[in-house]
């Protein structure tokens, strides 16, 4: 009887361990060097507080709830803004895709508006809405509407004209036409645009808070800097990077979901 070969490590695990060790070398060296240099007094802790104090400040901010409240405010504005922006963009894109004349006629206006960074509208929105959720939501909606609109427009234009002619012959109503022909044809492309928009939503939300709006993580961040709490500032940054990564993971999930729907 032959014994099966004994493998202490399953195949692939060894390679993964090597990768893990390699990938940890740089951040570990940086963090330890940073901590040591700060302990030795080589680094100005007014600008670069040491990793241990950052961790302490972060844990304190989580425990007293301020970080979570701020996170919810930022995500609320990002989410609602994205919802408004994506729906507006999709409706506009499908409409212009179905009406070539309207598309040509509005093209100069659309191109001009699209070229203005959403953030540049912050002062104007501040005049109109004042501080608060609406200010941030509107800017996020403006930023996120364009990628969805462009995707929806391109996808609708790509629909086989003959399908739409069949719909004409069958005298399909708009609702039916949307459900049977248009939405299935544009769904995948809109998801691609939506993923770009998701990437914008968090960034724009935080940026409006940093620039003007006294709420959310961006405000916490700039407040920590201005009140000489670099430890808290870095803790917010680490937290934000984590949020960004989570948004990225959500976006990938959406992608997998949509490709499975397409199958």
């Amino acid at each position: 009887m032959r014994r099966p070969p004994v493998n202490l490590l399953p195949a692939g695990l060894a390679a993964r361990m090597t990768n893990l060790v390699l990938s940890l070398i740089v951040p570990a060296t940086l963090l330890i060097g940073w901590e040591a240099a700060a302990a030795g007094g080589y680094i100005d802790e007014g600008a670069f507080s040491r990793p241990s104090s950052i961790a302490r400040a972060g844990i304190a901010a989580i425990l007293d709830g301020s970080l979570l409240t701020a996170t919810l405010q930022t995500l609320q504005a990002a989410g609602l803004g994205l919802l408004v922006g994506a729906v507006t963009g999709a409706v506009l894109g499908v409409f212009l895709g179905l009406q070539p004349m309207a598309e040509i006629a509005t093209r100069p206006t659309v191109e001009m508006l699209r070229a203005i960074p959403a953030i540049a509208f912050t002062p104007l929105a501040l005049l109109v809405f004042g501080f608060g959720l609406a200010l941030q939501m509107v800017i996020v909606a403006y930023a996120t509407a364009w990628p969805v609109m462009v995707a929806a427009l391109a996808a609708t234009r790509g629909i086989d004209r003959r399908l739409l002619e069949v719909a004409d012959v069958l005298e399909m109503g708009l609702a039916r036409r949307l459900r049977v022909i248009i939405l299935p044809a544009v769904f995948g492309r809109i998801v691609v645009g939506l993923r770009t928009a998701m990437g914008f939503a968090l960034v724009v939300s935080v940026t409006v808070e940093i620039l003007a709006n006294p709420r959310g993580l961006g405000y916490q961040l700039i407040l920590a800097q201005q009140s000489f709490r670099p430890d808290l500032m870095y803790a917010c940054i680490v937290w934000l990077a984590g949020l960004g990564a989570a948004a990225g993971a959500l976006s990938n999930l959406l992608n997998r979901f949509s490709t499975e729907m397409a199958r």
């Binding site: 990938s23 740089v26 951040p27 203005i116 960074p117 953030i119 104007l124 935080v206 961040l221 984590g242």
Partner: protein, 255 residues
């Protein structure tokens, strides 16, 4: 056959743009919206004309463009060099990529407070933030491009016994450029955004600051004027890049 259709489309676009301006002016004049919120194009263009004559428009445009180009040049340089190293060596990739992947999801503007602590409220801070924000697409495009240099080309460089630098400049970089270019395009768009943001945050002279000042002093016509100029700059950048893409990659056009 082509010409009349093109002309027709151009006329339609021109007419509709004029119609949009007329509509905008009409809505502004009807007084349905407060004058501090909505200013008609006539007033906005009057401001632009005045700023053109007294030179302040040129000064703001120059300051903003200069800042944007400096930051973007820095981002492209770092992004391409770092990306080339990451794309050519699996070891460098395994060492650095996870760290970079951890930093990359950070919203770029979140680096602003750090930059303020490091440099103060000045030009260096602005350029650093612009470079940080616009570097990522260049970096990712370059990594992808260098990872996908065709094996045949690599072999060619080896057979011709090219030095490392020569192979990099004449074989690998041109081959990777197809992937670098879209990264540059996205990066430049981000650079304009970060420029406006840092000008607002640090009160640096430029169009972003003009917008902020206009809002604080309730001069809405100035605000709209600055927005128009930023839009025109954005449009110009995009047109230049579309043109460059056609010149550089004629086979990949009509996208």
């Amino acid at each position: 056959m082509m010409r009349p259709i093109l002309l027709h489309r151009f006329t339609l676009m021109l007419l509709s743009a004029l119609a949009f301006l007329a509509l905008w002016q009409a809505v502004a004049q009807m007084g349905l919206v407060k004058r501090s919120f909505l200013v008609g194009p006539v007033d906005a263009f009057a401001v632009l004309w005045r700023q053109t004559l007294n030179g302040s428009l040129a000064a703001s445009m120059l300051a903003t463009t200069h800042r944007m180009v400096t930051g973007f040049a820095l981002a492209s340089g770092i992004g391409i060099l770092l990306g080339a190293a990451l794309g050519s060596s699996a070891l460098v990739r395994r060492l650095l990529m996870p760290t970079l992947d951890a930093i990359r999801p950070l919203p770029a503007s979140a680096i602003i407070p750090v930059a303020i602590l490091m440099f103060g409220l000045n030009e260096a801070m602005s350029v650093f933030v612009i470079a940080f924000g616009s570097m990522w697409p260049v970096l990712l495009g370059t990594v992808h491009g260098f990872q996908n240099v065709p094996v045949g080309l690599r072999e060619l460089a080896r057979v011709l016994e090219m030095g490392r630098l020569r192979a990099f400049l004449t074989v690998h970089l041109p081959s990777a450029f197809r992937d670098i270019f879209p990264g540059l395009r996205t990066g430049l768009a981000l650079a304009l955004i970060m420029t406006v943001v840092t000008e607002m945050q640090a009160s640096l002279p430029g169009l972003g600051y003009d917008i902020f000042v206009a809002q604080r002093s309730y001069r809405s016509a100035d605000l709209y004027a600055a927005l128009i100029v930023i839009g025109v700059i954005g449009l110009c950048i995009n047109q230049i890049l579309v043109w460059a893409e056609r010149r550089l990659f004629p086979w990949a056009s009509s996208r």
